[in-house]
Symmetry: C2
Subunit: 136 residues, 2 copies
DNA sequence: TTGTACTGTAATAAATAATATTACAGAATG
DNA sequence: CATTCTGTAATATTATTTATTACAGTACAA
C-alpha cells in the first residue's frame, strides 16, 4: 500500500539513533525528513506501539529509541510499518465466474507471502545500529 | 510505487497461459480481472516491450504469451513491471542541511537494492508455468 | 469494398490514497 | 500559570490510480 512509510520510519529511527540520550522533537525530525510534523508524530505513534520508540510529553518532551539500536533489526521496522503484502494491490476483486479469477487471490497471497518472507529474511540481517554506522 | 501492477500482469499472463494457442481479447482479460479493458491493453503494452506477450491486431486479433510459460520466470514479470524500488517512496527530498538527511537517500537506495535483490532471487525460482499449474 | 471486431494510444474524468494543515486537549517544566 | 512539547482528530490539499471516452489503424470476412 504505502511503501513510503518504511523510508520515513527508518529515517526517524536513524535520527534518533544518532542523537542518543537526547529527546528529539517531532519538529526537528520533520525538518530533516522534510515532511509535516504531524505525520512524524503519527508515524511514531505506530512505532511506539511496536516498542521501537519511546516518548516523553510536556515542555522538555520528545522522542528516543525504545530500545538500543543494536537490538532493533530492519525487519522489525518493516513489520511495524507493513499493512499489506508488498506485492499486493489495493482493490482486487477478480471475477468469481472466471475459473482463474476465482482462485487467483489465494495463489497470489501464497506467492506474496513467500516473496515477503525472503525480503524479511534479508532485512533481518541488519540492525539499526549497523545501518546508522554507515553514515559518516 | 504501484505494486498492483504486478498482480494485474501476473493475472493476465496466467490467463494467457491457460488458453494456449488462442488469441484472448482485452475485454475477456478485463472481465476476469475486473478492471477496465484499456488498462489491460496499457499493461500489456508494457509486457510486450519485455517480450512476455505477443499480439495480433484486427478483427480476429487478441493476445498470447510471447514465449512458452516455462521460459517465463516470475522475476521477469517483476522486472517488467518495476519502476521504482519496492521499499522506496514517491516524494523523498530530505533536508540537505541535516547531516543525516543529506546522506540518507544514498543509504536507503543501497538497502532497497539489496532487499529487492533478495526478492527477485526468490521470484526467480518459479516459472509462470509452475504458477499456472497451481490452479486446479 | 465495406462493415465488423479487434488493438493501440491519447486525452480526460473520476475515485482513491497520501500528505499537509489546522486545531486543540493534555502533560511536564520552569 | 505561561510555555513548549506530545497526542489525536478533523479537514483540506495534492498526487496517484483507475475508469471512461474517443478514435485511428489493422485484419478479416461477407
Amino acid at each position: 500500500m504505502n511503501n513510503g512509510r518504511f523510508s520515513i520510519s527508518l529515517h526517524i529511527l536513524t535520527l534518533l539513533d544518532s542523537f542518543p540520550n537526547e529527546l528529539v522533537s517531532s519538529e526537528f525530525l520533520a525538518g530533516s525528513i522534510n515532511i509535516n510534523p504531524v505525520l512524524v508524530r503519527k508515524e511514531i505513534s505506530n512505532l511506539k506501539k511496536h516498542g521501537l520508540v519511546a516518548s516523553k510529553e510536556g515542555k522538555t518532551g520528545g522522542f528516543m529509541l525504545g530500545r538500543p539500536s543494536k537490538q532493533i533489526r530492519l525487519s522489525d521496522i518493516y513489520k511495524a510499518v507493513r499493512q499489506a503484502p508488498i506485492l499486493g494491490q489495493t482493490r482486487n476483486s477478480p471475477n468469481p465466474k472466471c475459473l482463474i479469477g476465482k482462485q487467483i487471490n489465494k495463489h497470489l497471497e501464497n506467492l506474496f507471502d513467500e516473496a515477503e518472507e525472503a525480503l524479511i529474511k534479508k532485512l533481518d540481517k541488519t540492525t539499526l545500529s549497523e545501518f546508522t554506522n554507515r553514515f559518516s
